[in-house]
Amino acid sequence: MLKSTYIFFISLFFVTTIAQAQTSLSGYVKDLFGKGVEGATVTIVGTNQRTSTDVDGFYKLQIEGKQLPKLEVTSVGYITQSAVLKSNETYRDFQLKKDERVLEVANVRGQTDNQRRVNEIKRSGFNVSVIDMNRYANQTANVSQILRTAPGVTIREDGGLGSNFVFRINGLAAKIYIDGVPMDDFGPAMSINNIPVNLVDRVEIYKGVVPAFLGSDALGGAVNIITKQRNRHFLDLSYSYGSFNTHQASLVGMYTNPKSKLSVRTNAFYNYSDNDYKMYTEEKYGVILEKEINNKFVKIDEARRFKDRYYSTMGQIEVGLRDKSWADQFFVGLTYSGNNKQNQLGATINKPYGGNWTESAYMMPTLSYKKQNFLVDRLYADIYANYGFEIKRNRDTAQYNYQWDGVPITNTTGNASNPEKYIKDNINSVLGRINLNYDFDESRNQSLNLNYNISTNDRQTYDVISDHDDSGLPKNMVKHIAGLAWQSQWFDKRLVANLAFKYYGIDTYQKIDEREFDDNNQYLSGDIVTQTRYLGYKGYSVAARYRIFKDGGVKFSAERAYNLPEMTAIYGDNFNVLPNWDLKPEKSDNLNGGFYYNTFFNENHFINFDLSGFYRLAKDYQNTRIVSDNGQDKFQYYNIPGVKIYGGSFEARYGYKDVITAAINGSYDRAIDNQKYTDETNQQVSLSYGYQIPNRPWVYGNLDLGFAQNDWFSKGSRTQINWTTLYTKWFYLSDSHLGSLASKNYIPTQLVHNLLVSYSWNRNRYNISGEARNIFDERSYDNFRLQKPGRAFYVKFRVSLL
């Protein structure tokens, strides 16, 4: 109720605001491929009236007088265009052609923050892909579904909406950030598995070396999810409904008072799914579903998942000021998120649970400050802090074991029931981050970047059923990551290089009760022992890009980096992940190289080709294994002493105007167990040495075909059809060379096809789309044979008000 009231008032506020500005002239400035041109200047010829387009290429101007004005649009890198407005015309779109005489869009003053960042990313030495999420705004997808289509990215999941996942780039652990803040700091309801695409502007995928400003301890790379932020008013509302009773709603909005510069921005989403998709017995893959008849498990062909419902909700509001002398942006915010997830399966498909769920509520106040020319000219400051408080409950109320037809097994023998479980965690976290960037000159040929992140996480646990108070045994972790980077441009910007030094520190703390008591509970001996551990590491990296010719060049990066264990990896989650206090940070020496080529021909065609390769030598590689805990299969993180990973990926893209897009990519990453001896002293060679690490995808790829047409059925409409195919080659679940091939389990090759049809009208103000996922109902598995959803259909309605 509270949520809907909140949405209503926010919507009313924005709609009213927008209605008041309807006399103005507005439109989009796009390139031939339909992409918004940011920073283009739109001028009413003969007047001083002008404005700049935003990241979407959107502009808005007030028309004074009754004469028909002439508009002129200019943008560096594009041919200037002009047009005389017709009578009563309140909107006009422009499509700009590239100016072939300009070698590269220059990095000039006056660019918006967003444009500056995009250009910096493109020109930097980092191996980075930028996904424009506005392209996917009409899909029901969440961020992970888009991310997994990028080359080199693997996302291991264990089910449907809201399921747990493991995210890797080029085979190594990668960190996820939302607007530069680690995603873990947003509570469990914020995950790439449930953030709707509508909330996101773009996603930056860094492979290999990660820029210092992210303050990352990632090895394989990092993903930075940039949420939608605009200087103008806007409101984006969407709702989708689909298979498995899945509902997803999102709201993004922003309002800035032109005079006071007071800004309000908000994000919210709601996800719900029963996740009751069909599971199938596939004996050849070792997947057998059963029901119980007379205390005997009998195979059944299919069953629906049950008691696997998931819902999550998030609301975020930030209030602040923009464009003040003392701050470009200053915002205070409050985020609330909550989720409730039934857990039907543990780490394997063997045993369905009937009464297991996790719920959490999370509250986080935030403070952010950004300022260009901070204290001195050309010094940019970005300061951020948050405090999070979470209450998390893990419960299991099933008295008896369940079977795949959703009912408990008959208790014909008078067996004692399973004990109820109710574990409650109180978690406090604090994050502080400061990022300073100093440009030595206006052209940004030489820059220094200093970044420091500190995060603390403190957890107290209570066993509610036994009234057992573990809170006297808190668990605490503090991480420090500091980075100093020097970015430079040479040879007329043909060479861009980035040299960085990083320091990683992890401080862990736990208490263990080692007291002993006699029969009458009188204290005998022992104490509550405090274990503390501080580990500090130094890392360094170099990343460079050299433009060999106009449209192409090479990239190279190398680093020594560390991946510090997460809170869950060391202390467990009191549900599905067991603790491992001995888990060590993962170290990796990485080499990355690549070649890129982007070109246009005949103005209307665009080709992009990227080829990259990598080599990683990891020590104490963090992996998960299945461990038994009181009768349940659970995950536990552990270190593989040595792993060598190498591979590569390619991506080819083609575009014809804003009509056709086609992309294909493929990735190969091979992780080899590089720990030679099981016993160093006796030099006994490990059975796995030199062989591929099992249970991980190693060949995968994607195909994406799109066709779009404007002005079908009505002027200002756009019809779009997209076909995507995801491919994963089979892989063994255990060492491929151990045991006869006939006795080995494997995840089969998977080819999942999706189709999207969308129609937007009134210049993208309204949109309706239909999506068919996994059209051919392919058996899709991951992580120890956990089956993912089969064929599913979704419809989505979206309103985007500017």
Partner: protein
């Protein structure tokens, strides 16, 4: 024209991707004949059965080069081997807490596979506990579950089930319930006020001479032992009546685990011997309950404080001898007869031992981190080295006779 090319390219790409096989190529092999023995080993990430006809032959048993049978998929956690019982060529597993399943090595054109042939569905968490192996026939096996029992506070008892399973069709012939009394005093939590719901685990179970014996381990919600006395329960069998708790403070609490390993044995006269922790931390001792008695024998205490006892599955070897890893002991005279660690020059580690034809078979890990199967001749008190097991394995759980 260009559009046609583009579509052609896309179609070709889709075709290439679609044409990939969905599974690895598994060639046909010469079907091996059923072997005499299997050795259950684990690596860092998997579990394997290595089959052989000759465990005493100078050969190397290894899962490498796609030998042996991969049972990792049936056994996500290697140490689940501790909940397995192998009899008459069948493997009885309880590896996911719900089912008690009967597996067999089955020949296929592609090689041996480990296949479930029958099962029994337990309504609540079930893991195989102690076996009454002397009752095992081709038709029936007798066992308990590991389940830590919560007390019935009204009746002041813990109930421990003994299952009699028809192995022909995996149905329960009957269930007997031992009703083991709770402690006769209340255990409080650290605050001194809250009652701690004490939990019981049975670390051994033996049945003989019309009696059933259980070693008892009482612990609190912090997993600490609540009393440093040795407790055992005796009752009539099969009526399960006339139950009696006995305790002894000459040693500390009973040793053991809720898994398959039995921490007691019966001699030829059906006297019960129970392994307990010693009075000194980290040491062990043995107590005796004479046949027909309801209390520990006050005249018998074998203090093993000077020996590096490793525990594990205790076994009566006959000829007055028993095996408590790594020692063979003369039970009546309280003497060490053999130290297999010294005799083999390694560490005998097998969880469940194979005893046949007057010999004990165990896997030994040498200081050079190599694995060998050793045969200990009970009568002659000698050892003999047999097959080598790949030094890359991390644990050898069972040596089993299949035929």
């Amino acid at each position: 024209m260009k559009k046609n090319r583009l579509f052609g390219f896309c179609a070709l790409a889709a075709l290439l991707v679609s044409s990939c096989k969905d599974s690895p190529n598994i060639p046909e092999v010469t079907t091996p004949e059923a072997s005499e023995y299997s050795v259950w080993v684990a690596t860092a990430t998997g579990s394997y059965l290595l089959t052989t006809d000759e465990i005493m032959k100078d050969t190397l048993l290894s899962p490498a080069n796609n030998k042996g049978v991969d049972i990792t998929g049936n056994l996500p956690q290697a140490r689940y081997a501790g909940y397995a019982y192998i009899f008459n060529g069948f493997y009885y597993l309880s590896n996911d807490g719900t089912r008690f399943s009967k597996h067999q090595l089955v020949e296929t054109p592609q090689g041996l596979v480990f296949k479930e042939v029958d099962n029994y569905a337990f309504p609540s968490a079930f893991y195989l506990g102690k076996m009454a192996s002397q009752f095992s026939t081709t038709d029936e096996i007798v066992f308990t579950s590991t389940g830590a029992s919560d007390a019935n506070l009204e009746k002041k008892i813990f109930e421990k089930d003994i299952y009699f399973m028809n192995t022909k069709d995996m149905t329960l012939n009957k269930t007997l319930k031992a009703q083991i009394p709770t402690l006769d005093y209340t255990v409080y939590k650290a605050d001194g006020k809250t009652v701690d719901p004490t939990i019981l685990n049975v670390t051994s179970m033996r049945i003989a001479g019309g009696k059933a014996y259980f070693g008892l381990f009482y612990y609190d919600s912090d997993y600490n032992v609540v009393s440093k006395k040795a407790y055992a329960y005796i009752c009539d069998y099969p009526s399960m009546a006339n139950g009696h708790i006995m305790s002894d403070d000459r040693t500390s609490y009973v040793a053991g685990h809720w898994q398959r390993e039995n921490y007691s044995f019966l001699d030829d006269n059906n006297n019960l011997y129970l392994l307990t922790r010693g009075k000194t931390d980290g040491t062990y001792a043995i107590l005796r309950v004479n046949n027909g008695q309801y209390e520990f024998d006050k005249n018998y205490l074998y203090d093993l404080k000077d020996y590096a006892v490793k525990g594990g599955d205790l076994a009566w070897l006959g000829d007055g001898k028993a095996y408590i890893r790594p020692y063979v002991i003369d039970v009546a005279n309280k003497k060490i007869v053999a130290n297999l660690a010294e005799m083999t020059g390694g560490d005998p580690t097998t969880t469940i031992n194979l005893i046949q034809d007057g010999n004990l078979y165990t896997a030994v890990k040498t200081p050079a981190s190599k694995w060998f199967i050793y045969e200990y001749n009970i009568k002659n008190n000698t050892v003999k080295k047999g097959a080598e097991i790949d030094p890359g394995v991390t644990q050898v759980y069972h040596i089993n006779k299949l035929k």
